[in-house]
Symmetry: C3
């Protein structure tokens, strides 16, 4: 048995990332996505290029028939509306009851009271993983811990790692914070995924798409969701690094990112994975 609190070696992570990508390609997990309108195209193509099977299906009436057949679920509140929220909540509930892993992307969680409340309701349905950028995780963490304060939580923590750990502890979810280094935590262990390029921030929906890739990775290894999440973030980052070598700007990067994700081989993955941790920070 491997020690959960010991830092893994670079070789362990390299093999783990390749092993999970290979499993996604082999098993082609069905990933149901209820996501924003902006990201649907890139998200579906990200899943396809990684070898998974996307299903962009958001209608309340279809959830009871369809969601039990999905291997993982990806919920993203980017263009949330009151009309879509019930389907998200039902899908999360069906997935949790069926033992299927699911990921929440709390896009712009602090942008409105409506949105923050919706995110909190989804968090209560027990996502396996929550992935966002620093301000999203901070907003959600503060609101989770101090729900009465609403969007205006300026007196609360503004440190993304502390917020991520607190959110993970409060919810039981793995929490991932995207940034120059991606941080992944279960509330105790903290892992850093160092792959990726800055220009991803100039392409819409890349954050949404890596969240969907996390869903595909946890679909093939639900039992170690922290490791699968870190591996997905690293693999997506590697594809962007390789793509960046061929890119002249955001649009060529977006294209080569998808091609690179499709074409990744064992050597490209294992030689580039850069994941560090675990550290048992207070």
């Amino acid at each position: 048995m491997e020690g959960n609190k010991e830092p893994k070696s670079p070789e362990w992570w390299a093999q783990r990332a390749w092993s999970l990508l290979s499993a996604v390609r082999r098993q082609s997990p069905l990933v149901q996505c209820i996501t924003n309108f902006v990201s649907m195209d890139l998200m579906a193509n990200t899943l396809l290029s990684a070898g998974a099977s996307p299903a962009m299906l958001h209608t309340l009436e279809e959830i009871p028939d369809f969601t039990p057949h999905a291997h993982a679920l990806c919920l993203n509140v980017g263009t949330l509306s009151a009309a879509w929220l019930p389907a998200m909540k039902l899908a999360a509930d069906v997935a949790t009851k069926a033992g299927k892993p699911w990921v929440l992307d709390p896009v712009a969680a602090g942008a409105s009271g409506f949105r923050l409340k919706a995110c909190l309701e989804l968090v209560e349905l027990r996502p396996t993983v929550i992935r966002g950028n620093g301000s999203e995780i901070i907003a959600l963490s503060n609101a989770s811990l101090h729900p009465a304060k609403g969007v205006d939580s300026s007196h609360e923590s503004t440190d993304a790692v502390k917020s991520a750990k607190a959110l993970a502890q409060a919810t039981g979810a793995i929490v991932a914070v995207s940034g120059a280094v991606d941080i992944i935590t279960d509330g105790k262990r903290v892992v850093g995924a160092h792959n990726g390029v800055a220009m991803l921030q100039r392409i819409t929906a890349t954050g949404c798409s890596v969240t969907a890739l996390i869903a595909a990775f946890i679909a093939v290894d639900q039992s170690r969701a922290l490791e699968a999440t870190a591996a997905a973030l690293s693999v997506f980052g590697i594809a962007s690094e390789i793509g960046m070598n061929m890119a002249n700007g955001p649009a060529t990067l977006r294209m080569h990112l998808i091609d690179s994700l499709h074409g990744l081989d064992e050597d490209a993955v294992t030689s580039r994975v850069k994941i560090t941790g675990f550290c048992d920070e207070k």
Copy 2:
């Protein structure tokens, strides 16, 4: 008068495909699309690159004013919801009554009872063409012939060609089944369109987009919808073959596919069209 039940020569098909693409470019038919959120971008760009005029217009209130002006209609249930279905049905009804051809893409027809029921209701409004993959056509055909059995039609036919012929006979529509070879049938005649590349399956919305291209082709020759459908499938496949020569993966293929469709000339089309048939199978 040409014999409808005689196999056409390769030269006949080559000239027919080029002639129809030329007519689309010359006439620029207005194709109204009520389609899923994932496919809107690629579908509109497919129509534009072929020379047609897309109109992505889905609102119930606008159908009576707008649909009579369209030259063809494309309905796609990919991200169907209860809110969108009435507009689809009204548009189909208006198109049929105005003598305008329309195409149905029954995406994931068997994914839920809600979706299958909606597809059956649309089929009753008499589409000119129905295009799907094998499992979609099998699900729809079984449900059309045995409506009481719902989604669970595992005891019914699982042979796509037989299902397509049965669906065509039951509905009066041309039925096309996408696959390694695309099959097109009116219930008696069966035509195979052999162009295309396997990597199209790794790009979201390519199936949806070829359905829209079929709508553009039948807009310029409604009287021979089977031939127009086969030609559209072949032309799209040819564009993908030319694009594949420049592609490094799904994203570059998607780009070069559109450029190639835009740039196709007579020689590229006529030298590559590969359509076989008719065979009068039982």
Copy 3:
């Protein structure tokens, strides 16, 4: 003080365009977009590649919290529905009351009575800029001046420049008409922006995207919206001209357009800007 009715020199326009693009990159204005489903991806990527911050947020419940924080607003009726219109109207109202500039893109304004009525209601909320193609501006102008006649305004003006001037005078908005030469007017002054390539018409959502770029430009200089609108149209056109040098068709152009917009430097902008006017036409 510069004379508003004097034609500006080519050098003035070149410096103005570069100065505004630089300000967008430096300030990264938050541009809220309530737009059609087809354009969301390209619009967001256009704003990101220009250095702005897009927010695709359309939900009624969120407008009061969010819209006051946006620096500009972009409304586009491309896939308008009754469900989305109230949020558009509320956002326009909030923006106007908060003194934030906003742009209206009246896509296919004349396509239905429902759509034309919605556009007229939005125009009454006092957009800073209205941008459309010739037929859209003509339809909207005729309907604004003669509201009783509805969509069928065939007896009214069919001259886009005259219609644009009349619409600007009636509404107080800057009106831009896209075409071989883009025309921008405040009802008295008329400016022509001559950059761009014809193939943009074969790419969906390029018109929508340049409207969003106008919103970003007026966000950084609201006091001279006519000049900012002309500069945005010219800069987008320049990016397309540079992109066209690398393009083989609509899809490669779309990609290189975004990369070029991201990479534009002072020399590329100032050497290529071609804006003429003002002319005080009757």
